[in-house]
């Protein structure tokens, strides 16, 4: 469901009015390519599928996740502070035609798995988004 709705938004060209903090992080990502598709894995710990906003528009893939603070930074005195918590955002250019209707996304254990089928391949199977 996630992929369908967010992709529709992207195709309609609308922009989300969500409050966007000035600071954000980029995810660690893996990108795999097979003959049929690109698969993007993006680590977004702390996000839920509702927090994700994924858009693909004319070769640009945009990944965004809104992350809620898990502690009140005003009231928490950290003994160790090795990472910060903020929204994730990054963009990629994909230099190949993508079958936008066939894009699917799955989010599990804080990892987004996004499948972008290449449009040159006919009769691609549409993969439903699994939410867990």
């Amino acid at each position: 469901m996630l992929a369908a709705t967010t992709m529709e938004k992207a195709k309609a060209g609308s922009t989300s009015e969500s409050a966007q903090s000035t600071w954000f992080y980029r995810s660690d990502i893996d990108v795999h390519e097979t003959d049929a598709e690109y698969v993007v894995y993006a680590d977004m710990p702390g996000a839920t599928s509702e927090d994700l906003d994924i858009r693909y528009d004319r070769g640009m893939l945009m990944l965004r996740a809104r992350i809620k603070a898990r502690q009140d930074p005003e009231k928490t005195s950290y003994l160790i502070h090795e990472y910060g918590v903020a929204d994730y955002q990054q963009e990629f250019r994909i230099g190949e035609e993508i079958d936008t209707d066939g894009i699917s996304a799955e989010f599990r254990d804080g990892v987004l798995i996004l499948r972008l089928p290449k449009s040159a391949r006919p009769r691609l199977k549409k993969i439903e988004v699994k939410q867990r």
Partner: protein, 158 residues
């Protein structure tokens, strides 16, 4: 990769356009192997030690000590959390991606075994520890030992 713990979180970034260019997946794997040995033999384990995997945040309140770690892509069954001798150990395996017949263009996500041990700054009750893994975030809540909890002394006003 795994172990260096320095997350690629550059802070303010705008319009990051990345062209996908092939990288050698084997180089990444080799680094993993080296890293594993280093972790196995070299973990200092100090509560304030240099960055290790997973990165953690820790804080406390009057009665509890909290340690949170971002470990995406792992199931609870692949994660072990121990409290022993007033040390917290977080241990597990991040699975390898399935590339199959394909090509790996980028590999930033750490994979493989990890283990990190933290010396806890206050005495905790090892029988009263709660660990929760939610959306790739591990939160360990440890109750402080009775003698570690600061007693608040009421002040009489006369």
């Amino acid at each position: 990769m795994i172990g260096d713990g320095v997350r690629q979180r550059g802070g303010y970034q705008k319009e990051v356009h990345i062209m996908l260019t092939p990288t050698n997946a084997l180089t990444g794997l080799r680094r993993e192997v080296d890293r594993l040995f280093e972790d196995y033999f070299g973990d200092g384990g100090s509560f304030l030690s240099a960055r290790r995997y997973p990165p953690v945040n820790a804080w406390e309140d009057d009665e509890h000590l909290y340690v949170e770690a971002e470990i995406p892509g792992i199931a609870m069954k692949d994660l072990e959390v121990y409290v022993r001798d007033n040390q917290l150990t977080i241990k597990g395996t991040r699975p390898e991606g399935e590339i199959g017949e394909g090509v790996c263009y980028r590999q930033e996500r750490p994979t493989g075994d990890f283990s990190r041990t933290l010396d806890l700054p206050v005495e905790v009750d090892a029988s009263n520890v709660d660990a929760k893994l939610e959306h790739g975030v591990l939160t360990v809540t440890m109750a402080k030992s009775r003698n570690a909890v600061a007693k608040r002394i009421p002040i009489r006003s006369e």
